[in-house]
């Protein structure tokens, strides 16, 4: 038991360390600007005095270390600073959009995880059958499609030709949950399709890897029933790889929302990020990047933690 706790705390510590490293990188990215933020914002025509005043207003006259501590401390208290484009609080700008993005990703996960894991398991069990081959070719093609291609095909079929669903997901906080659900239907389906293909392929690969290991062969040679091999011998060991696959794909999903949100004009964090990059509103870009990176790292770390926690070999240490 002790070894599990040690392994787990190592993983969590590593996750926290990469979080810290990532926040340093996000902070330093701005330092790479030729000149600094004040000069970049005001442009060439600004006089030295204006630049200096603006620099003082942004706090850029302080040394980098002090600014980093100030920035980090602010974020830990929920204060992300203000947007350069419109002077609004970033925290306020981000909060409703974060909720929207998480709802989109959450709904997509709710659909895609069971479907993908089930399909992956079936494909691995009946591998090299026509069912497996068909599924595999379809998945390989879907993985190769750009997200916007899938999105526009769905729009063309379901909203233009059939007229069932709206093509634009312009939801507002006042909408009832039913409206919200209807309007976010196409984005959710797009995102699910893209992730299902990837997740199914990875689940299949992980299971086939497991089913070809010697102890499964042994169980089969002993004459144990197929269902018993799967439930008692294969599944406990398959749990860890499947969990890893799911968590990795959820991490992908959180990032994958960016393109989907832009296609459907969905008011989420991804769209805010893209708009801010175009406007070079760097404090907002930093805030959004940090939120995405934190979610991504958190999911990856929990994948590792769960994989360790469900590993039967660690549950029953030899000594």
């Amino acid at each position: 038991m002790l070894s599990i706790i040690r392994l787990l705390s190592q993983r969590v510590a590593l996750g926290l360390l990469s979080l810290f490293a990532v926040s340093v990188i996000i902070f330093l990215a701005v330092e790479m600007l030729p000149g600094d933020l004040a000069e970049a914002m005001l442009g060439q025509s600004a006089t030295a005095d204006t630049v200096a005043a603006f620099r003082a207003q942004l706090g850029l006259d302080q040394p980098p270390l002090q600014r980093f501590i100030g920035w980090m401390g602010g974020i830990l208290q929920g204060d992300f600073g203000v947007s350069l484009a419109n002077g609004r609080e970033i925290g306020e700008l981000v909060s409703t959009r974060l909720g929207n993005t998480l709802r989109l990703a959450g709904l997509a996960a709710l659909i895609s995880v069971p479907v993908a894991v089930l399909l992956g398991m079936l494909a691995a069990l009946y591998r090299n059958s026509w069912f497996d081959r068909m599924l595999n070719t379809t998945a390989l093609s879907t993985v190769s499609f750009p997200e916007f291609f899938v999105a526009y095909i769905l729009i063309l079929v379901f909203s233009v030709q059939l007229g069932w669903l709206p093509s634009i997901a312009n939801i507002t906080p006042e909408d009832s949950w039913l409206t919200v659900l209807e309007r976010s239907m196409l984005p959710v389906i797009t995102l699910s399709l893209v992730v299902i293909a990837q997740m199914m392929r990875m689940t299949r690969a992980a299971l086939i890897n497991l089913l070809s290991s010697p102890y499964i062969e042994m169980a089969r040679l002993k004459g144990i029933k197929k269902s018993r091999i799967i439930y008692y011998h294969a599944l406990p060991n398959a749990l860890a790889p499947i969990i890893t696959v799911v968590a990795l794909n959820l991490a992908y999903l959180v990032v994958g929302v960016v393109v989907v949100e832009v296609v459907f004009v969905y008011p989420g964090l991804g769209q805010l990020l893209v708009d801010s990059v175009a406007k070079r509103d760097i404090p907002v870009v930093q805030a959004c990047s940090l939120i995405f990176a934190v979610t991504y790292i958190a999911l990856n770390t929990s994948a590792d933690v769960l994989a360790i926690a469900t590993d039967p070999r660690l549950m029953h240490p030899r000594s």
Binding site: A21, M32, S141, F145, P146, F149, V277, I297
Partner: protein, 275 residues
């Protein structure tokens, strides 16, 4: 040459399809100016003209010939993706091999840097850096190549690690061969097969990535004909049931499917008959 032809002949249908697609795209990319009836940025008529005899696929939002731009897109989009992938392999592959051969603190240092870079989602990282340095073709290529080099590094290092422990490398070391010899003569020839397969996969990834960035308006800039931005510029037509904006997206999809089929076949061949 004869054996290659034989391999291709015996390949499964999907791989043959993939190879045909790749050859077709290369042909179009090379001969785009000869094949295209109009210039890349030439305004030839009204915007959003429907398909007709003069303009096979109609015109785009600014009245440029859609078909010509589609052909030029093969050159620009595929070309930039290819250069980026090649650069990523040069940086990542070399660093990975050096890390495996040198070992010790060189390996530790490079690996930790890569770990940190890989902890940030790639799209987010690219957006962050592009917002700071601005979106030009050069910065696009450099940023994506650097980010992708981390993935190549991982693979190259882990494959090379397996080779470095073998006796013939040890023998070469004892002979007193230098690092460059070890990398190019001993390790590289034995790691080339998985690296080529990875090149195909990486190319697909970079290609989709650049198309996505262009689609978001943050990649290849107008007026250069590029498939991602062509979808973005003409997307409005889809709401009227016109499928022309989907064609550049389909062009991206078909090439990626083709390359994936070929890589799948190569991996299958080199791994025996596993999976």
């Amino acid at each position: 040459m004869k054996t290659i032809a034989k391999h291709v002949w015996q390949a499964p249908l999907s791989a043959q399809f993939g190879l045909a697609v790749i050859v077709l795209y290369i042909f179009v990319a090379v001969f785009a100016p000869t094949l295209a009836p109009y210039g890349e940025t030439e305004v030839v008529g009204e915007g959003f003209a429907p398909w007709n005899g003069e303009h096979w696929l109609g015109t785009d939002n600014l009245g440029r010939d859609m078909y010509s731009r589609l052909l030029y897109g093969a050159r620009n989009t595929v070309g930039i993706a290819f250069v980026t992938t090649a650069l990523a392999f040069l940086i990542g592959g070399l660093a990975g091999l050096v890390a495996a051969v040198k070992g010790g603190w060189v390996d530790q240092g490079l690996s930790r840097i890569v770990d940190v870079l890989m902890a940030i989602p790639q799209l987010i990282f690219a957006l962050l850096i592009l917002s700071v340095v601005g979106t030009t073709v050069t910065s696009l290529i450099l940023v994506i190549a650097l980010l992708d080099a981390t993935r190549v590094f991982r693979l190259a290092r882990s494959v090379a690690m397996g080779v470095v422990t073998l006796d013939f490398v040890e023998a070469a070391r004892l002979r007193g061969e230098g690092m460059w010899w070890l990398i190019t003569r001993e390790v590289l020839p034995n790691t080339i097969a998985p690296l080529i397969a990875e090149f195909g996969l990486r190319f697909c990834f970079v290609f989709l990535f650049i198309s996505a960035l262009s689609f978001l308006g943050l990649g290849i800039k107008p007026p250069t004909a590029d498939w991602g931005s062509m979808v973005r510029d003409n997307a409005i037509l889809i709401t009227f049931g016109d499928i022309s904006p989907l064609l550049p997206a389909a062009a991206v999809a078909i090439l990626t499917v083709g390359v994936n089929f070929v890589v799948d076949w190569m991996l299958h061949k080199s791994s025996g008959l596993k999976g």
